[in-house]
């Protein structure tokens, strides 16, 4: 599987870049993953992020959301300073959207997900619009905070040729578990509370009846079946 930036994370990067354009500041991209995750960081740098950090260590491997959030929290604490942590709302793989909130908990910061609009107020607090099933709510929160954005928040830019060229000059820092002083009993597979213990190919269980024939014939038979099943 080629490692690329998750679509949701592109929205987070775009929002960070827009904040930088409005207020100045630095956009640092942080990811945890195997060596091939570097590709995603290169893509983010080509979108014109300022710097990138790759948390890469066998000790991080096999992490569930909790152990992933722990490792990311160690990495972020290692950064000299930050005001806002932006995340995508879900990864392609699992779509659980848990990591952002758990990261907030480990950093002891407020965390808000499903955010589709954010406004800075006097530089020290944010007013965010987050969606819920029946509408939206507006929440005010002091910085620093962890915010997970949806794909409605913006339209991510594509890397430009100049951006791609500039990116090759930017350094990607590789940090091991030791570099970020991570307690190895809190990261990776061994400290993930959840385990996959069985995997099987996905099967939808249904007794399907497949109808082949002339359109007139199959449609009539299908409708007769539906009527008989009281499905209409």
């Amino acid at each position: 599987m080629p490692a690329v930036v998750n679509p949701g994370d592109r929205n987070a990067i775009e929002e960070a870049l827009r904040i930088r354009e409005r207020f100045s500041g630095r956009v640092i991209i942080l990811t945890m993953g195997p060596p091939q995750a570097r590709r995603a960081l290169e893509e983010a740098l080509a979108m014109e992020a300022d710097a990138a950090v790759h948390l890469c260590d066998q000790a991080f491997a096999g992490a569930d959301t909790l152990a992933t959030a722990q490792a990311l929290a160690y990495g972020i604490r290692k950064l000299e300073h930050f005001d806002l942590v932006l995340c995508g709302d879900a990864t392609i793989d699992s779509g659980t959207g848990q990591v952002a909130v758990q990261l907030a908990e480990f950093l002891d910061l407020p965390g808000i997900t499903n955010v589709e609009e954010l406004t800075f107020e006097n530089g020290r607090s944010l007013l965010v619009k987050r969606t819920w099933e029946k509408g939206y709510i507006k929440v005010r929160v002091k910085l620093p905070a962890v915010i997970a954005v949806t794909d409605k928040i913006n339209q991510p830019r594509l890397p430009t040729i100049l951006g791609i060229m500039a990116a090759t000059q930017k350094e990607i820092k590789n940090w091991s578990a030791a570099d970020i002083s991570a307690d190895v009993s809190r990261v990776g597979l061994s400290s993930s509370p959840t385990r996959v213990f069985e995997m099987s190919e996905f099967h939808a269980e249904r007794q399907g009846e497949i109808l082949l024939g002339s359109p007139e014939e199959v449609v009539t038979r299908a409708i007769n079946r539906l009527v008989k099943l009281e499905a209409l």
Partner: protein
Amino acid sequence: MNSRVEGKSQVWVWAEHYQGKLAKVSLGLLGKAHELCLQLGGGEVASVLVGSDSQELVAELIDHGSDKVYLADDTRLSPFDTELCTHLMTELIQSHQPEIVLWGATSMGREIASRVAARLTTGLTAHCIDLCIEEVSGQRQLVGTVAGWGGNIALKIICPHRRPQMATVKSGILPLPEPRKRSGEVIPVKVEDGSSRLNIVEVVEQEEVTSLEQAEVVVVGGWGLSSLGGFQAVDELAQILKGSVAGTRPALDAGWIPAERMIGQSGKTVAPRLLVTLGVSGAAQFATGVLSSKFILAVDKNPDAPIFEMADIGIVGDLKDVFPLLAEKLRAIKGKTQGKIASPGR
């Protein structure tokens, strides 16, 4: 491992509600919690309910299978303040030590559950499509089945060493239990840590068209509709069947539907009485969104499309030929049914 409090194992449900109505997903979870108790060989179902003036909701929770209701009747506790709800749930779990805690995978439920799991350093299996108790390594454990890697694989996930075992389930997956008049115990509780860093400024409820999750009939269009030049067929059929319109990922990418009408792993889960798919090939990531549909009628021209493995009735054919006939015949039938209902003496 944590030491267990003596007594029956407890299976808890986070009871979500808004404007005096319990979320369907919470009621579905109560039914599942009851099943899990039976599989555990005994136990109690408890719900945690936040909010003042909730006597009716308490009764509803009990009638749907709650043996106990932990009621936090506290005006500070807005269900939208995920920080306060996290404090409350963490405190309650620590003092009562339930074996299992179930949450709806709603936007608020997900957030609170994730945070509670982190604070208690326990596992949270998200977006389960099934939950059961199985004996694994000599221990009866909660097994959550989730669709992994784009939905092609079913993963069974356990949380062997930490308690409680926690899971979220999306709306529309679980059937609603039949309510019956029962009695249960109400236990008033309060939150010790009343601090929150969230300032809820405004809660806005937007007008809903019929919500997809509640729809009785759903008509879904996929990429195969491009042979008809667009999505009109879905609209037409939905109108005839008085159903809701939805689409697949390719339909979203084609700009035929808004994101909130997309069905599948990364979109909505539906559980209608009748689901009709037009030109949907049925990739596994789509399948996880329609599993609980009662009947599925599928039309697609590729006889090998996976949609035919999940459909009750599959029509193999070109939409250009099949659709006009299908629409015509259904229109005739639906017209007749309405006539019958309207006729006197019935």
